[in-house]
């Protein structure tokens, strides 16, 4: 098949320079505003790295310890900065090592561009050294991917890659480039892409749907808004608050919608889903109107869909048409970016208050606090709980740090008890649930928002999945604060074994190394806390330290995360203990 040439760059638009494909890649990155990338060199990408050597004044490159670290760091960078994360790796095993992160970025709608080297085009399909069909492998987990085999295709393919990654519902794009295309010289000229005929990134808002939605909102007695990452990705936090404050509608959030509104806002009623707050789960089935705002009704949010939102009409505000009616039927779908649709809706709706309804959420919170939150934050037992550590750390940074998590019990506890003042303060693997995400993502987050504090919460399981990135932290002197919540268990799986598999702890207990010694090996200052009385001092030492820091806290060995909606049950079957 012919290579694509349907979006030609007009000759008169800019002057051509005769450069190699590898140099062209650098030029494209500069023109797209890239300043930082994460990667690992190797045979099939060497010409690009050679070009990078000459561009080191304009393009900073962070050398990770494993390609999975590169992609997660790029994700962390993208999530806090709103810019496209860039990841540079070689062919074969390097390309397959980034697949987990690509799948993670796909399901969590994170804009990243991955550039992978490839064997020479004459060797494609011959089982050459370090050849793998990366296009075939990544096709289902990328928003778009493309293999460049001719240097001439670099400008449009790179322009399209960045355009696709950042526009509409963002996502990962992989560009695979053969070694010969990196070496070959051609007349380079660049133009950013503005549109693609087969792709409509943002659907036009339909005013009749806005009217229908406002009608439902004005009539509703018990409305509940569900805030997702769509609000953050559209930079529509202000528009969200204007809508909520005018209508007085209580708002709960998905894990990726966390920090879109400040924790202490009176209309913020807490987290949805399996380990979310009591009120939002119970009240989902009492609400007469559910307004999904930039969220996708994930199964961890809805639990049993047959018994979800049983008394409610549903308004679904969403940028991706494929999400409408995918899980939950939308009575009124409102397509478009919430940046546009929320203000249109705010104009139409009546000013309102739902004092009584909001008070019901507060009553639920009081129940949850009495039976659960109080015990988690101020335990009477001697063992430290994850919740108290999270809350102390949050307070030590004035409730205004970026929180990065790994996956598991500590992730749920961190999202429940860390507090936020501003948006883009959460980096967590929501959809894919990737253990090992945390440490490299925290590196990316710190480099994406150097002026802010970055706190990583990680378990002893996930920490060891990408522990080699301590080397990156040391080499780049990335001042991330690592809070290792160590219970010597794969805690979430153990919890399920306790609750649903009759305490049969199959392969969940970990015999761990001495993390203090490991930190010392990487020249990272570390403290281990085993007693409550030492916790505050240790956190203070960490908060006041300049560089990276590892705070290891030995927590309750068999603690459980509650509340919990057991799988297969309904949101209103939520258990407090």
């Amino acid at each position: 098949m012919e290579a694509q040439t349907y979006e030609p760059i007009k000759k008169e638009q800019c002057k051509a320079v005769n450069i190699t494909g590898a140099e062209a890649m650098m030029e494209c990155l500069v023109q797209e505003g890239v300043e930082l990338m994460f990667g690992y060199p190797g045979g099939a990408i060497m010409p690009v790295y050679d070009a990078l050597y000459s561009y080191s004044d304009r393009l900073k490159h962070v050398l990770v310890r494993h390609e999975q670290g590169a992609i997660h760091a790029a994700q962390g960078f993208a999530r806090v900065s709103g810019k496209v994360g860039v990841c540079l790796v070689t062919s074969g095993p390097a390309a397959t090592n980034v697949v987990t992160g690509i799948a993670d970025a796909m399901i969590d709608s994170t804009p990243v561009v991955i550039i992978s080297g490839q064997v020479g085009s004459n060797l494609l399909g011959t089982d050459a050294f370090q050849e793998t069909d990366v296009i075939g492998i990544t096709q289902p987990v990328t928003k778009w991917n493309y293999q460049i085999t001719r240097a001439e295709d670099i400008p449009w393919a790179m322009a399209k890659a960045f355009y696709v990654a950042r526009s509409g519902r963002p996502g990962p794009v992989l560009i695979d480039i053969t070694k010969d295309a990196q070496f070959n010289k051609f007349d380079f000229r660049y133009q950013k892409m503005q549109s693609i005929r087969s792709y409509q990134p943002v659907p036009q808002p339909d005013l009749t749907k806005i009217n229908e939605a406002s009608h439902l909102i004005n009539l509703a007695k018990k409305p509940l808004a569900l805030v997702g990452q769509g609000v953050v990705l559209a930079n529509a936090e202000k528009e969200l608050m204007e809508f909520l404050e005018k209508t007085g509608i209580p708002a709960a959030w998905t894990i990726l919608g966390l920090s879109a509104m400040p924790t202490d806002h009176p209309l913020n009623v807490g987290m949805l889903g399996m380990h979310g707050n009591y009120g939002p789960n119970i009240k989902t089935n009492q609400a007469d109107l559910i307004i999904g705002i930039g969220m996708r009704f994930d199964d961890r949010v809805t639990a049993n869909t047959q018994r979800y939102a049983t008394n409610a009409r549903v308004i679904h505000m969403e940028i991706d048409p494929a999400e409408i009616n995918k899980i939950i039927h939308a009575d009124v779908p409102v397509l478009g970016t919430v940046k546009e649709t929320l203000p249109l809706l705010t104009q139409k709706v009546n000013k309102n208050e739902h004092t009584q309804w909001l008070e019901e959420f507060n009553a639920c919170y009081r129940v949850e606090h009495e039976r659960l939150i109080g015990k988690e934050l101020h335990p009477e037992k001697p063992e430290l709980t994850m919740g108290e550590v999270v809350r102390r750390v949050s307070e030590a940074f004035d409730d205004d740090a970026i929180m990065v998590t790994d996956v598991g019990q500590h992730q749920m506890v961190a999202t429940r008890y860390f507090k936020f003042r501003q948006s883009r303060s959460v980096v967590t693997s929501g959809g894919l649930g990737t253990m090992g995400f945390g440490l490299p993502a925290a590196i990316g987050a710190k480099l994406g928002a150097p002026e802010r504090h970055v706190c990583l919460f990680v378990g002893d399981g996930g920490f060891q999945m990408t522990i080699q990135e301590l080397g990156t932290i040391f080499q780049e002197k990335v001042p991330v604060k690592i809070i290792l919540l160590n219970n010597n268990f794969l805690g979430m799986v153990r919890q399920w074994q306790e609750l649903f598999f009759d305490f049969r702890y199959a392969q969940t207990e970990l015999i761990n190394p001495d993390f203090q010694t490991i930190a010392k090996g990487y020249y990272i200052p570390a403290i281990k806390v085993t007693e409550r009385e030492n916790l505050d001092d240790a956190i203070k030492t960490m908060a006041e330290s300049e560089g990276p820091f590892l705070l290891e806290v030995v927590v309750e060995k068999e603690g459980n995360v509650f509340p919990m909606v057991p799988s297969g049950m309904s949101v209103d079957d939520i258990r407090l203990e």
Partner: protein, 181 residues
Amino acid sequence: MKEEFTLTVFSENVVGLLNQVTTVFTRRHINIESITASASAIKGIHKFTIVIFTTQEQVEKLVGQIEKRIDVLKAYYFRNNEIVYQEIALYKVPTKSLLEGNEVEQLVRKHGARILELTEEYTVIQKTGYKEETQYLYEKLQPYGLTQFTRSGRVAVNRLKKEPLTTWLKTLEEDRLKVEA
């Protein structure tokens, strides 16, 4: 309730597009009954005709997921009564069986088939029709020493009175020509 649906997908003509479309089905464990892919009337645009057996609810989601692919222009689904469709079948029989009596020749005439190629050894017969019809002829020809049989995927045109896509594609084509000029 599951029923037969015909999907029509218009896409850019790019490497790997077929894979992009088929993984949407693979991931949901849906079998493709037949698939036809070829250039459309517009330069650079490919058309896929895919037949699947599924529910209305599922087919709506599938079309959404296919259309979400960046290189796909449009995807539609139709029930069988909304389209005119045909498949083509080729049959290879020994010429001997044709010469030994007039049954094979009668079958060819009766079924509106035609002889494409006739050599001393074999004869190739072509029939266009619905799957049941080409299947029926297959069964009828079997006693005469049928040596090869092959059937294509479906080709279809819809019965819609308006042709919004064709108009839109034409505008795109005119724009492309302008840019290239």
